[in-house]
């Protein structure tokens, strides 16, 4: 397997050839598509489900579903966009099952403004990442993003972590572009507000942590 991950969506024409081959039953071609995107799908699934077992299931189920439905992939969008759409739906289904409720959707908490109005306006330490060890920092970042409603964190992960465009994110989540922008703004502001308590500059006399 490759050690350097290709940026999702690169080599579009080459990718189309792989998809065409896979459609005709070439499993090697499909295996190459799995190699290209499994890490991205795993990350996205983990962010949505917060559960490693569920994320593993999502990776498997999403790729299997993609394989079984390749005939329906028209090539109007990138394969990766189509795949993420399947994976996000699978991940939300897992989350719903785990919470045993029907309300988890990408539209959840749309009207919530809480936490989007900046209250904490102290500047951060010049190098906030140096205040914590790598694993402690990872825990803080995970805990913080898990506190966001699923609809917000999914948009944030696709746009800001995976680096997809607003248009691609809108297509993947079946949302309008203004809806993606609005969720992204609120997700960013809420994360900023929550991280401030860990990263803000300490005044004299205040202990480090």
């Amino acid at each position: 397997m490759e050690t350097i991950q290709k940026k999702a969506g690169e080599d579009v024409s080459d990718e189309l050839a792989l998809v065409q081959a896979a459609k005709k039953g070439d499993l090697e071609a499909f295996s190459e598509l799995v190699n290209r995107y499994d890490r991205n799908i795993f990350r996205i699934a983990q962010h949505i489900t917060h559960n490693e077992d569920d994320a593993q299931d999502v990776v498997q189920d999403a790729f299997l579903k993609a394989y079984q439905n390749l005939a329906q992939f028209q090539g109007n969008s990138k394969f990766y966009t189509w795949l993420v759409r399947i994976a996000v739906n699978e991940a939300l289904m897992k989350l719903r099952k785990r919470r045993n409720e029907k309300t988890v959707s990408i539209d959840e908490d749309v009207e919530t403004e809480d936490g989007s109005i900046p209250r904490e306006v102290a500047d951060w330490s010049p190098n906030p990442e140096q205040l914590y060890g790598q694993s402690e920092l990872g825990d803080i970042l995970k805990k913080t993003i898990q506190g966001l409603p699923p609809g917000f964190r999914t948009v944030f992960v696709l746009r800001d972590v995976e680096g997809l465009s607003t248009e691609e994110t809108a297509e993947m989540l079946s949302l309008s572009i203004p809806a993606v922008k609005s969720r992204l703004l609120r997700a960013r502001l809420q994360l900023r507000e929550r991280l401030a308590k860990y990263f803000k500059t300490r005044k004299n006399g205040e202990g480090q942590r």
């Binding site: 039953g25 499993l27 499994d38 990350r43 983990q46 498997q60 394989y67 703004l185 502001l189 900023r192």
Partner: protein, 84 residues
Amino acid sequence: MKCTEFLRELTDYLDGTMSERMKAELDEHLHWCHDCHVVMNTTKKTIEIYRDNQLYELPETLRNRLHQAIMSRCRDSKRGKENC
């Protein structure tokens, strides 16, 4: 420009997806509004921290295991179709 108006445009400002004219207005606001400057700066850091610290890397052993499971399920599915 009010702070609330600035905040509404923050995402486009950080992504650099706005007209020159709007950017100039926002820069002007940032010049004198300390609070918005801090919010802009720390929001930018928020994005960078999440982008630079990939939280859920897929370990290579698990990756291989998942890959095998996926391909085995795809093979079963292909076989099932062929036998239909």
